[in-house]
Symmetry: C2
DNA sequence: TTGTAGGCGTTATCAG
DNA sequence: CTGATAACGCCTACAA
């Protein structure tokens, strides 16, 4: 762990100037002989470029960050899988941050942007506080937000249309004859929580169904929390016949609880998730879910960031990705009995 | 996105020297008046320290990296959840890398260590190639490997004891009366794949059970791959009565396939996973799984790294975490029928 | 307590 | 094509 060699060490050993070393290392035109000597010396010394010094001079790190609110949520993984290759192909290394939706951690990541550790940032905050907005306004490197920020925030913004998404789901449930459609949501002070809650209410009203506070249960966007919320809901409203869950993890928790309670899905209670993650197709029964285009949003976000990094000093752009309903067994297919019925939903 | 202010900008505005600015910003003793002026100027300018320049001088970044082979595997998340707070408490920012078990990506992360972007690294490689070992030997910053590296590799090493772990599981299955115990493994050229495969063979032999190639199926450490592998296995060896899966994801895939095939778990086929992730307890039926102490390993790794970062220039240390069998429904409990039987396993 | 100046390892400009 | 040399932004003796 002794101090590593620098271009100076190489220069000495090769008997050339540091300028020549730098040139060789950066592939600039050099005499064959010089190049050979330098490369040989570098090799022998086990030289590794000090990227920190390089960044200081070049003002670039060739690194980009993606800050995820919940690493355990496959929706973010779907984004990651799209973001990673796009940036990699463009020569950037992607570093991840796990913020656990803690505002302070997100602010810290934003801060690290200012510290110049990365050239750009993709972030998907659950809550958007004033502190967030301040830092975004002051950001000196490109930021792309996946999720919604207020109009006028000077960053690119890739949005889901959860309003339409929730409507797709509620309409689907209604079409199946469900009339006691409950909503299991995450915290209302989160961006998705607020949007999905409002959308649910709106969808019901448009269908002429009464909005009933009892049918709304707030928990959090995790499986265990979802399960807890659904347990409470069932106790309070035993006649509920459909659950609109604010994400797939909540929906999986719902399935756990319904199974334990002996309620058949979808016969007794239909369940819809959101995000259409891998888990939705893999669960039992498989889960109908509203795709909010996680993968697509990741891809778009990466491309927007890349565009900015390449010098696009354009107006902030807002892209909205369209939702899609993936109908599966939890609302329309066979429930516990070994498959074969063919009825299809909606 | 104009060029940000530096300590020079602040110095001018505050009418002091850059040295004073630096001192104030670092909390060194300064006259009240000076401090006030500097802080005011910094505030007004929206100053953010350039961490790159700071690092160049101080030779520290206060950042540490954790390279995960598979972000989608909850076993790594369990590690992460332990690593994160330990390092954070010590003042380090944790950055994550997703390598997808691609050797080239892992080498790149190791390279980034040499580039001085981070002060240390925790890494959990699936395969350990010569290139890995070379870079580890040459590493100029502390590295902790979660997983096994050959004796003599000059890095701290936190190991699981999958040998004992597999044995616990196989013995358990044997005690339940199972005699056609198959193994569903990941690639044999991975460290865990090789270890678990060998352990399985050894465990059978010690029980006096014949080792049968037909009972071994190689796939990969993901759910879909696990499902595929189990489907093949079932087709080839219909009378199998127990599956020892090399991790929980494979085991979940196994449950999917068994359910689709109408085989009852555990009545017809008992299933054991490894890693004892959150998913094991949450699956249906809940999954018996060998805990290899992911959380514990993460914690130990973080502490070892911290020790090194604090100057511990000691001998490389090897810590092995003991396995534990978590018995659940997939081997011992009720299967598909609504619970109530009380028999307990082993 | 404060300012001046040197240096961290690179890159890039400018003469030679 | 090559070699001095000046930044990049910050920290830190050392001197005042």
């Amino acid at each position: 762990m002794a101090d590593g060699p620098t271009i100076n060490t190489i220069a000495e050993r090769a008997g050339v100037s540091i300028a020549s070393v730098s040139r060789v290392l950066n592939g600039l035109p050099t005499r064959q002989e010089t190049e050979r000597k330098v490369l040989k010396a570098a090799e022998e010394l086990g030289y590794v470029r000090n990227a920190v010094a390089r960044s200081l001079k070049s003002r670039r790190t060739d690194q980009v960050a993606f800050a995820m609110a919940d690493v355990g949520n496959p929706a973010y993984l779907a984004m990651l899988r799209q973001i990673q290759p796009v940036l990699k192909a463009a020569g950037y290394r992607l570093v991840l941050h796990s913020t656990d939706a803690v505002a302070a951690d997100e602010i810290d990541v934003l801060h690290s942007l200012g510290e110049r550790y990365v050239d750009g940032l993709i972030m998907s905050p659950l809550r958007v506080t004033d502190a967030h907005l301040e830092m975004l306004a002051a950001a000196r490197a490109p930021v792309v937000i996946i999720g919604s920020v207020p109009e006028g925030t000077p960053v690119d913004n890739v949005r889901a249309d959860s309003r339409t998404g929730v409507r797709l789901a509620v309409d689907h449930l209604y079409a199946l004859g469900r009339r006691r459609i409950a909503m299991v949501n995450g915290p209302l002070d989160t961006v998705p929580g607020a949007a999905r809650g409002a959308a649910y209410r709106e969808a019901l009203e448009d269908l002429g169904l009464p909005y009933d506070d009892d049918l709304v249960q707030i928990g959090d966007f995790y499986r265990a929390e979802g399960a807890r919320a659904v347990a409470e809901l069932l106790a309070r409203v035993p006649d509920v016949d459909a659950l609109m869950c604010a994400n797939d993890l909540i929906a999986l928790g719902a399935l756990d609880v319904l199974r334990a309670a002996g309620r058949r899905v979808p016969d007794d209670v239909a369940v819809v998730g959101m995000d259409d993650t891998d888990l939705a197709a893999a669960s039992w029964p498989s889960l109908t879910s509203v795709s909010l285009g996680s993968a697509e949003r990741g891809k778009v976000a990466a491309e927007l960031l890349l565009d900015r990094l390449r010098g696009g000093d354009r107006e902030p752009r807002v892209v909205t990705v369209a939702p899609r309903l993936a109908v599966r067994a939890s609302t329309a297919g066979p429930a516990y009995e070994p498959a074969d019925r063919k009825e299809g939903g909606a």
